[in-house]
């Protein structure tokens, strides 16, 4: 097909109108030359430009501008305040009980969600790693929660965790816990609301993480398992002593991912609250997360300057926690050999 378009042959078909414009033979050649040079030299930059342009405008610039806003008095309802606030937003942050409460909640929910999530994902992955009938069917099945909108699933779980007729209490009652006479009010205190929200997060991400682990498991060379069999290691031991250390890079990756996601948790705590629009995370902030507090401060209290300062604080926290988690997981999953 494309061989007919042999490069400088004067007899080439006049298919490309912009190319074939009449003119002297040498002029045409140089025009083509220039086009060729442009194509070789600058076309690659043109092709990658959209990403960089967009990232600069909607990613990098907001991130930097956020720093400026955090040093300003930026209230949507009061433009008369002095332009600069200096470090005021940050010093206010240090003494803000709401902030520390939200930080505490965020970490609580994060711990309750990420640890069981990744452990269960490992178990599910090792189950999926067996020779299964209808293999694809199982793999697609565990992705049901992944494609379900968090907004939709949170609504369902909100009903599950209602006090009087909730499914959660009913199931617990079957096991003799709580029960209809003494139902658990899942929205009354920190621990219970954290558990409810963590359950939603776990439901959403176990299958996804399991597939990440499964992919890594399948690239483990077979002969590694030989030695284990000679040692007489059972499947459980195999999982912890061979499989986990071998897929360590992916484990680290999921730990970082769940840290970044977990510390920014927004939708679940927002919609778990029957009075979602207030963004308070319960009557006394029982489960208000930092992302939720940023939303409340910025768009309910209309104090964007302060919200920007909080965003920076959250960024720092994410960096620190991701770093610590990386180191800890690195030791735990690699050091067992």
């Amino acid at each position: 097909m494309s061989t007919t378009r042999a490069a400088p042959a004067p007899s080439s078909r006049p298919a490309g109108p912009e190319r074939g414009r009449s003119g002297g033979d040498d002029r045409r050649l140089s025009w083509r030359d220039r086009l060729y040079r442009f194509d070789m030299r600058y076309m690659p930059y043109l092709m990658i430009a959209p990403f960089f342009l967009l990232f600069i405008v909607f990613g990098l610039f907001p991130l930097l501008f956020n720093a400026v806003v955090s040093l300003r008095n930026y209230r949507l309802d009061d433009p008369t305040l002095p332009y600069w606030a200096g470090g005021e937003n940050f010093s206010r942050l240090l003494g803000d009980e709401d902030f520390w409460n939200a930080l505490y909640n965020t970490f609580g929910i994060f711990l309750l969600s990420s640890v069981p999530q990744l452990l269960l994902a490992l178990v599910v992955a090792s189950l999926l790693n067996r020779k299964l009938r209808a293999q694809t069917w199982w793999r697609v099945g565990v992705l049901l929660p992944y494609v379900t909108p968090i907004v939709a699933s949170t609504m369902v779980f909100s009903v599950f965790f209602s006090r009087d007729f909730g499914m959660a209490n009913w199931v617990l009652g079957l096991f003799g816990l709580g029960g209809p006479d003494d139902p658990i009010d899942w929205r009354a205190d920190k621990l219970h609301s954290w558990i409810a929200i963590a359950t939603m997060v776990n439901w959403k991400w176990i299958g996804y993480n399991a597939l990440l682990y499964l992919a890594a498991m399948q690239s483990i060379p077979r002969d590694v398992y030989e030695a284990a069999a000679i040692d007489g290691a059972g499947p459980w031991k195999q999982l912890w002593r061979i499989t986990v250390p071998m897929i360590q890079p992916v484990v680290l990756f999921t730990v970082i991912l769940s840290t970044i996601g977990g510390l920014q948790l927004f939708t679940e705590p927002m919609l778990f609250d029957p009075n979602a629009q207030a963004a308070t995370g319960g009557p006394n902030g029982e489960w208000q997360t930092i992302a939720q507090l940023i939303y409340k401060v910025g768009w309910k209290d209309l104090n964007l300057g302060y919200a920007a300062a909080m965003s920076w604080a959250l960024f720092l926290i994410i960096l620190i926690v991701a770093g610590v988690n990386y180191l800890v997981t690195n030791r735990l999953s690699g050091g067992q050999r």
Binding site: S2, R5, P8, D39, M43, P44, M47, I48, L54, V57, F58, G59, P62, L63, L64, F65, V69, Y74, V124, L127, K131, L132, T136, W138, V140, G141, L143, L144, P145, V147, T148, P149, V151, A152, S153, M155, V156, F165, M167, W203, Y208, L212, L214, A215, R222, Y225, E226, A229, Q238, F253, I260, Q264, L271, P274, N275, Q277, A291, I294, W299, L314
Partner: protein, 292 residues
């Protein structure tokens, strides 16, 4: 001369888990996992088809009712929720973003994978690094930027930031490196094909599977996005379906059969996609894991 080698040896050789046939317990646990994964969705449908009483029953209702159309009708006729419009909006946003991501990411991926230009390695590293920046951090400033552009409250504010993604560029680059042979690109060049010509006639046909994967993942993520659409679109008559569903649940007295009917409708398109393209989505997630 002994002919047969000792027969024990094969028994000592362990089989990798993926060669061990799954036993009863494996199937049982997996079935439980499936139940755990699917039940909330099923139950969403149960409530979406029931009357108010279904929610006040113990043991809880687990059989769908017959009021689905009534509930759906109520959802669509609520004045200040704009549910029908929100579905159209979500389709527009997700389709435009997906098409744009596929085009721009495959172009950039092709450039990084097969074209030689100065600084390409450093630039690619930059792309990968941007993957690690939590997107929520600049959200306050993004709102201000959109305000300056006059885009807040319009679909543009939701569409524009998602038009090209770092993940898409990265994913496409990996795929093109592995599937498009250098010689093919070279020989097309010798024949005088321009870069765009090579893209259109060699790269595009080769990366169709990757386009399917990236398209599905992008569509799902865009459709489900909530926080940013809530910030920029709530209170307008242009919500996305996620914002509209959350609006269904606001107010003093929440009628859950309506909320869940709305939630169910907004979930169905994704379930259909999983049903049709599940294989591709699974592959996309698993490939992403091994290469990153």
């Amino acid at each position: 001369m002994t002919v047969a080698p000792p027969r024990r040896r094969p028994r000592l050789v362990a089989r990798a888990p993926q060669e061990t046939a799954a036993g009863l317990w494996t199937y049982l646990f997996l079935a439980l996992t499936m139940l755990f994964a699917a039940f909330p969705l099923y139950w969403m449908f149960v409530i979406a088809t029931s009357d108010d009483e279904a929610l006040a029953k113990l043991p809880p209702a687990i059989v769908p009712g017959d009021r689905f159309l009534t509930n759906v009708d109520e959802v669509f006729s609520l004045q200040d929720v704009y549910f029908a419009a929100s579905l159209v909006n979500s389709v527009i946003v997700a389709t435009v973003v997906t098409a744009s991501v596929l085009f721009f990411c495959s172009l950039a991926g092709f450039a990084f994978a097969k074209l030689r230009f100065q600084g390409s390695n450093a630039l690619m590293l930059f792309v990968v690094l941007t993957l690690t920046v939590p997107n929520q951090l600049g959200i306050v400033a993004l709102y201000i930027v959109m305000g300056k552009l006059g885009w807040n409250g319009t679909l543009l504010a939701v569409i524009a930031p998602g038009l090209v993604t770092a993940f898409g560029v990265f994913y496409m680059r990996q795929f093109i490196v592995n599937t498009v042979p250098d010689e093919l690109v070279e020989s097309a060049r010798m024949d005088g094909a321009t870069t765009m010509r090579v893209y259109a006639s060699i790269v595009l046909p080769a990366i169709r599977p990757a386009l399917a994967v990236l398209g599905l993942l992008t569509f799902v993520a865009t459709w489900n996005d909530f926080q940013w659409p809530l910030i920029t679109l709530s209170g307008t008559d242009f919500p996305t379906s996620m914002v509209a569903v959350s609006d269904l649940a606001s107010g003093n007295y929440v009628i859950y059969r309506r909320v869940l009917a709305g939630a169910f409708i907004a979930t169905v398109p994704l379930l259909v996609m999983l049903f049709i393209g599940g294989r591709q989505i699974v592959r996309g997630i698993m490939e992403g894991a091994v290469k990153s």
